[in-house]
Amino acid sequence: MYSEEIERMLEKIGAKIGDKIRISKRGEVYEGILMPKSEFSDKKSIVIKLPSGYNVGVRYGEELKVEKLEGHKKVGFESREIELKPVLGKPTISILSTGGTVASRVDYVSGGVYASYKASDLIKIVPELREIANINSKFVFGLMSEDLTVEHWRKMAREIAKELNSKTDGVVVTHGTDMMHFSTAAMSFMLKNLNKPVAFTGSQRSSDRGSSDGFMNLVCASLFAAKSDVAEVCLVMHGSVNDDYCLAHRGTKVRKLHTSRRDAFKSINDEPIARIFANGKIEVLNKNYKKRGEGKVQVDDKLEEKVAMIKTYPNMNPEIFDFYIEKKYRGIVIEGTGLGHVPTTIEKFSLIPKIKEATENGIAVCMTSQCLFGRVHPFVYANLRRAYEAGAIYCEDMLPEVAYVKLMHVLGHTKEREEVIKLMLTNMAGEINSRGSVFE
């Protein structure tokens, strides 16, 4: 929004966004289309698009005169649903849109990129999707992934299951990248008896640019959903900085490791399941996966929401636990250091009493490592043993984010400590890999 003063003036002359206007200021005359103000621009400047296409800001003041001229141009992207007729003999996939950069447009109000595309808009931009499969598209919600909550996971799981239980060969979910690995983990635990591929994809560079990685990601995810025999929740994104191939990572063994590069996602403590080329070739890299099957997918959406994550760091205050104990949390995942350490020996800083207290209060305290790569171990050092003895459950080679989601899932079913320990240490959806690989 412009400043009140400008808004009032525009209202007075009857000029709306998209109208042609003339601005005169100290002998200078500008004609162009009135544009919305972006969040960061000066509130007191009027933004107009010149006939050359350039936008400039003209600072509003007494000496400035604005006139409305004849003419109007619609500003913004118009979403148009398109009718798609199925082609016999081609696989059918469902593309569920949940938001994120892969489905984003420039937003002139906030000045940022904003999730607004519908899946059918994507087909318009990536026409080759229709060569791959018949596409059913559905707009589930349009959120940037940092805004997702457990309720969104429940909705997502129901929508995915609904598609999987219809005549689809696989599901693609477009999603914001930041928390995509949380969602793939959640879906991995929540979708029981999975029988078809579920491919999450997104883009690191917004799809309003010709160079966006999202186009190829969407093509590869669709290929994977339509043609692979992997009945798991996977995350399909660029495998390198080139636009050459994508990797399908297991949904419980993947993490975003770069803020902006297109190959931001890497498999951790596991091999990617497949390499997918835009020309349709799919290479299996890791034969350890669940194959397509029959039956019906069930949604298990019991999740305990009173679960938190605590990262350890030097000089941290152990009182952070008090908040969670007081608020009657049921689970805490600690991102420890190295093999699963927490500050131990200096009394003032030691987390050991707090782990003990939390455990005694019926909170399941799980230990993971901020190293991400490798496995935690409760016995190698004395300090590790002390955390273990205090009650920490050492979560093998599980990623902290995955342990967090899994703990919600497990606590959704049982609060029995022995049962929780057993389930946390049982491989449910590929989240535990008992054999660490020698090379990356």
Partner: protein, 607 residues
């Protein structure tokens, strides 16, 4: 005629416009490459740009070379841009003021869709800094509607069959783009205007110098023609020729249009399709075609009704309408070239019997022309579709389009002229407000005008040298050297403007003579280590051995000035040997020690 020019000048900032990479392109090997694809996307107003779509339809792969000191994640479109380089903005404001322009209150960085791959993001970042400026020329005032600050594109390394290689070192160097109105009066006037603008940029001393650091685009149209943007004139001298040839080309296209109107009085051209004519050549003696077929390609042809004779029409010297068809097909389908019926087909080894058979297959009559392409089926039919489209365009005369300069000043088709819908805001960069205070600080420090400059130069140099320096990119450097080293201005000017030019003509790689090395030369000269006559020798040594310094040249080539005491000995000996004939002795000494003694010193001792 209507004619305008656009100047693109790189700015001499330390860092690039949107990241901290160096703007100095150094001679280094690429560390590796990245491979990318691009496609057309809708612009801000929801429209997909025509030029963008065109390039997408070609379906190219882009290969980008990455260099150690000049490429980071920003150039590879793997990281959002850093904030706008404020030094570059200051220089752009300064240039806008020198051009009598109004500096905008708020700079909004825009994305200009460029999907030829020259920018990894699929767009070039650009911003208007100044509006409504002007420059005076001998034929009156030329308006400068916009002055933009933008990022340099990547440099093209090569292109082959759908794969284009670019180097990322220059991507993101700040540029100012100065666009004139189309009021330029004549081809020569275009050159003069470009020259004036170039001079004005150089007096700031804040622009890069050297090959490729300034480029001129020319926009031309004739009455009844169309606006054509011609890219990449690097030499000012070529500008009049470019304009003349484009005027001729558009006039010739108008004539073709008129001729077509006569030929199609009552009818309209029918829809034509590419036809497979490979079997015509099953026993061909055409080596070109036989080789193509052997490599698994096919021969396709298309009929152009009533076009007989038109493909051979000359547009300007050495360019025929057929070449236009060929360029268009190359740009759209990435093929090697076409063969058309207005050519001497015997030169390809195509017999008249084969021609008859082709005509039969195409159902072509005497008045019709045809075009042949030898390639894979998809590519060949795409190419012939493009040929057909270009032929249809001839009914409307010249087309709005972007063309590139050829070495002879001619041009060839590049892509359709982009529209204004290709600009949309760069939301990663917040708009920058330019305060009055900032403009005033810059205004107070504006450099002298060109006229003021000339007056001060005439105090140091004769008119000829002063004029040379005024249009030279060495002007600022000259002033700095004279100021700091106190070397005779005439020697500095002749070295920069004459000695180096003749070395270049002799094939010496003078582009290796950096300002740093030249400065070193004058400093050593001032300290008396060598004589004037040794300058060309030292410069060519340093140019040929870029890793060596002036000091190395003096030592390795033994060019040290002979000391006074030693010179006295030499003179004495020479006089003795020449039996007291001083003139003979002088000639003898100079022929032997020309590069190490000053003639006046020898004369002085001889006296």
């Amino acid at each position: 005629m209507r004619c305008g020019i656009e100047i693109h000048q790189r700015l001499a900032t330390k860092n690039k416009l949107f990241c901290d990479c160096s703007t100095q392109i150094v001679d280094e090997e690429p560390m590796g490459v990245i491979i990318r694809k691009q496609r057309a996307v809708a612009g801000e107003l929801g429209e997909v740009d025509a030029a963008a779509l065109h390039e997408y339809s070609v379906g190219r792969t882009y290969i980008y070379q990455v260099f150690p000191s000049t490429t980071c994640l920003v150039e590879t479109d793997s990281e959002p841009p850093h904030p706008l380089n404020q030094d570059a903005l200051d220089i752009a404001i300064e240039i806008a003021l020198l051009l009598n322009a109004h500096v905008v209150d708020e700079v909004q960085v825009m994305r200009k869709t460029v999907i030829d791959g020259s920018n990894t993001g699929g767009f070039q970042r650009t911003a208007v800094v100044g509006l409504n400026g002007f420059i005076e020329t001998s034929k009156g005032r030329i308006a400068i509607p916009t002055i933009c600050l933008e990022e340099e594109s990547s440099g093209i390394v090569g292109e082959e069959r759908g794969k284009v290689t670019y180097r990322l070192d220059r991507l993101g160097i700040p540029l100012v783009e100065i666009a004139t109105s189309s009021d330029i009066k004549s081809p020569e006037h275009a050159k003069e205007t470009a020259e004036k603008l170039g001079m004005l940029l150089r007096v700031t001393g804040k622009v890069q110098r050297g090959i490729g650091t300034i480029r001129q685009d020319v926009n031309v149209s004739v009455e009844g023609g169309a606006r054509v943007e011609i890219k990449g004139a690097q030499e000012l001298g070529l500008i009049p020729k470019i304009v003349e040839k484009e005027l001729k080309r558009q006039e010739a296209l108008i004539k073709i249009k008129e001729e077509l109107a006569k030929r199609f009085k009552k009818s309209k051209p029918g829809k034509e399709k590419a036809v497979d004519i490979t079997d015509v050549f099953s026993k061909t003696s055409s080596k070109l075609i036989a080789r193509g077929i052997e490599r698994g390609m096919e021969v396709f042809a298309i009929k152009l009704e009533n076009f007989f004779g038109l493909l051979g029409t000359e547009l300007y010297e050495n360019r025929r309408f057929g070449t236009e068809l060929s360029d268009y097909a190359k740009a759209n389908a990435d093929i090697g070239g076409i063969i058309h019926s207005d050519e001497k087909l015997e030169k390809y080894g195509i017999t008249s019997k084969e021609v008859e058979e082709i005509k039969k297959k195409l159902n072509a009559r005497e008045k019709d022309a045809f075009v042949i392409v030898i390639d894979e089926e998809d590519r060949a039919s795409k190419a012939l579709e493009a040929v057909y489209e270009r032929a249809l365009q001839a009914f409307e005369g010249a087309q709005k389009e972007v063309r590139k300069v050829l070495p002879d000043g001619g041009t060839s088709y590049m892509r359709p002229l982009p529209g204004s819908s290709r600009l949309y805001p760069e939301t990663d960069i917040p708009p920058v407000r330019i305060t009055k205070e900032r403009i005033e600080i810059i205004r107070k420090k504006l450099p002298e005008t060109v006229e003021e400059r000339k007056t001060s130069l005439l105090k140091l140099l004769n008119e000829e040298l002063a004029n040379k320096l005024l249009v030279s990119e060495n002007l600022r450097f000259f002033e700095m050297v004279v100021d700091k080293t106190k070397v005779d201005p005439v020697l500095v000017a002749t070295t920069l403007e004459e000695t180096i030019v003749s070395l270049r003509r002799a094939g010496i790689p003078v582009e290796n003579l950096s300002e740093e090395k030249l400065f070193g030369l004058f400093k050593e000269y001032k300290s008396g280590r060598f004589v004037k006559a040794a300058i060309p020798e030292i410069l060519s040594f340093v140019a040929k051995n870029p890793s060596k310094r002036v000091d190395d040249a003096i030592r390795e080539m033994k060019l040290e000035k002979i000391s006074k005491t030693e010179l006295e000995k030499i003179v004495k000996k020479a006089v003795e040997e020449n039996k007291g004939d001083k003139k003979l002795a002088f000639n003898r000494i100079m022929s032997e020690y020309r590069l190490r003694v000053e003639a006046k010193d020898v004369m002085h001792i001889l006296k």
